[in-house]
Amino acid sequence: MDTLEVKDLHVAVDDEDGHQVILKGLNLTMHTGEIHAIMGPNGTGKSTLSETIMGNPKYHVTQGDILLNGESILDWPVDKRARHGLFLAMQYPAEIAGVTNAEFMRAAINARRDDDHQIGVREFIQKLDDKMAILDMSEEMAERYLNQGFSGGEKKRNEILQLLMIEPPFAILDEIDSGLDIDALKVVSKGVNAMRGDNFGALIITHYQRLLNYIVPDVVHVMMDGRIVKSGNADLAKTLEKEGYVGLRDDLGLDVPLTDEPAADKKEAH
């Protein structure tokens, strides 16, 4: 069993306006075999958390730690984290012309193997065919340039294809359901469920409870203002879907603006 721990994580990002603190003491522990979901209002830091775990150099950890099987990975560059078992299906994957999807996935698989055990062409093609079949993807997608000109939905599917090909112990899926039609949502969920098992753990970030009907989580976390403010079982997602975040925020006495209510100054005027 592998373990991923996030301890008292504080993260800042440099933007035009200077130094902005986004995560403010976040704690989370996951094991392989578990599916965790994170929900939370826009701008609360969910993507920041996923990018920071993965090692995006834009995000600076100012306090706290991230541990993989007990070892701090803060000093590891992104490629090392990936080779040691982390995978992030990105909200906005990059497009790379001139490099085919298949070529890229083969390089990714081989990056995890030593020179004497590189995956054979036939084995690779067989695996690719199998995984593309699970995701209802046409063969032609493998020979296209990486994400180049892919539709929003095709990009998401392609992220899941990479997940199935690489088979990492831990995957973070950042809004893998956004922009998917209902059939694609089922297909993508089928892909993630195919990974489920003792050797796989996932952190699923979503705004919609619907995804969690297809991929039923073991734990649901609610994130607000750069922290996890509540955790529960799958029913928590259903409650949130019905009631929104306002009630929870007020119960917890948090001072954060939410989009589904009048602006703060208006509220005071009442």
Binding site: I96, G98, V99, F104, A111
Partner: protein, 406 residues
């Protein structure tokens, strides 16, 4: 002699080449070139400091040109003959076109023409239609200065693919020149691919000049992958109405070398279409300059001239320039340009690395993608692969050098 002789004595040229030339006409051309050499201006390569380069090698008696794969089969009327052995006077197409496209107006071309010691004449007849490409591999042997001149005349309504590759033997230094003139006849469609991959013992002036007649189409791809200092002038004149040229160049500079490139298309005829795409990569302390020159002359109504020049720099000590130069002397035209000098896109790097690829591998893939727009246009898969492999090898070397400096 670094800056070249002040003048070229006519008598010396006469004595050296007169007895060997099989054509009095050719000797006369040499003497005319020698005459203007002393006063002719340098060719214009904006932003490239080349005046002190050792480009003025005294021509060896035997130019030391080798064709490792032999010369292509002469079938279906294709004619290939050594320039110096041919009785040029018997070939009206040769005397009509030689030194007409690559006009002898600058100091380097004049030096070259006066002292040509090797070359080929290639004639592709009207209506020629052969699926197999004509492949020319030319090797310059070390230490024997060559001034090599090639004329390719394609007749009318022909379709032909020509692959023209240059390499140099590693060894003693020399300052060489290669000039190619390419004539695309009316209604012909020519795919021309050239690769220059000289080692660093060769300093070279490379000039290729094409002209395209009415409704002719020239698809030109070039790979500039030399190790030494080179000047490469790639120019096309769209003379006939409706003529088109699509010129795609890829270049890689490494070590301490300087590669200066002018890629020019001149719209002369009406409704002519010009496209230039240049992508280059610079490693270590090298310099790469792309001058993209689009010139629409007065009277070229309905002309279209587009160009894109992009350079990626992989080290802090690399120097790069991408200069779009548009000269427009006619109103009723379309023209556009894009240029950039930048570094490898970090968001692409992050994405590739997030799947476990090392920084070096990710960088090579991003660069391959960046050069892909040109590489995929190269007509012969074997040449494409050869180019990709050469680029890969240079990148790996450049990355190793960078790591050693860290």
């Amino acid at each position: 002699m670094a800056f070249g002789p002040k003048t070229l004595a006519k008598q010396a040229i006469q004595d050296q080449f007169g007895p060997r030339d099989h054509s009095a006409w050719l000797t006369a051309q040499r003497l005319a070139a020698a005459k203007i050499y002393g006063t002719a201006p340098w060719p214009d390569f904006p932003k490239v400091q080349f005046h002190a380069w050792p480009l003025f090698g005294a021509p060896a008696a035997d130019a030391g040109i080798r064709y490792p794969d032999g010369l292509p089969d002469q079938k279906d009327g294709l004619l290939i003959t050594p320039l110096l052995d041919a009785a040029i006077d018997q070939m009206p197409w040769a005397t009509q076109y030689l030194f007409q496209e690559a006009t002898v107006k600058d100091r380097l071309t004049a030096f070259h023409v006066a002292q040509i010691n090797s070359g080929l004449l290639i004639h592709v007849p009207d209506h020629f239609h052969q699926a197999d490409p004509i492949v020319l591999n030319t090797e310059l042997l070390a230490g024997r200065t060559a001034h090599h001149h090639v004329l390719v005349v394609v007749g009318e309504d022909a379709q032909v693919t020509i692959v023209d590759r240059y390499t140099g033997e590693v060894g003693a230094k020399s300052g060489d020149s290669v000039v190619t003139e390419l004539v695309v006849g009316a209604g012909s469609r020519v795919n021309y691919a050239n690769v220059d991959a000289f080692d660093d013992n060769i300093t070279a002036f490379i000039r290729r000049q094409a002209t395209v007649a009415q409704d002719g189409v020239l698809n030109w791809t070039g790979g500039v992958l030399n190790d030494g200092n080179v000047l490469v002038d790639t120019s096309t004149d769209l003379v006939g109405t409706g003529a088109e040229a699509d010129v795609k160049m890829v270049a890689l500079a490494s070590g301490k070398q300087i590669q200066g490139m002018n890629t020019r298309i001149t719209n002369i005829g009406r409704q002519t279409t010009a496209n230039i795409l240049q992508h280059g990569v610079i490693l270590e302390n090298a310099t790469l300059v792309f001058n993209g020159i689009g010139h629409i002359v007065k009277g070229a109504r309905g002309a279209d001239a587009q160009q894109e020049n992009r350079v990626l720099m992989l080290s802090r000590t690399a120097h790069g320039d991408a200069n779009p130069i548009l000269l427009i002397d006619e109103n009723d035209v379309k023209a556009g340009h894009a240029a950039s000098v930048g570094r490898v896109d970090e968001s692409q790097m992050y994405y590739l690395m997030s799947r476990g690829l090392s920084r070096d591998l990710a960088q090579r893939l991003v660069i391959r993608g960046f050069l892909g727009a040109v590489l995929t246009a190269i007509p012969l898969p074997a040449v494409q692969k050869d180019l990709i492999d050469t680029i890969e090898r240079k990148l790996i070397h450049g990355q190793a050098v960078a790591h050693a400096q860290e």
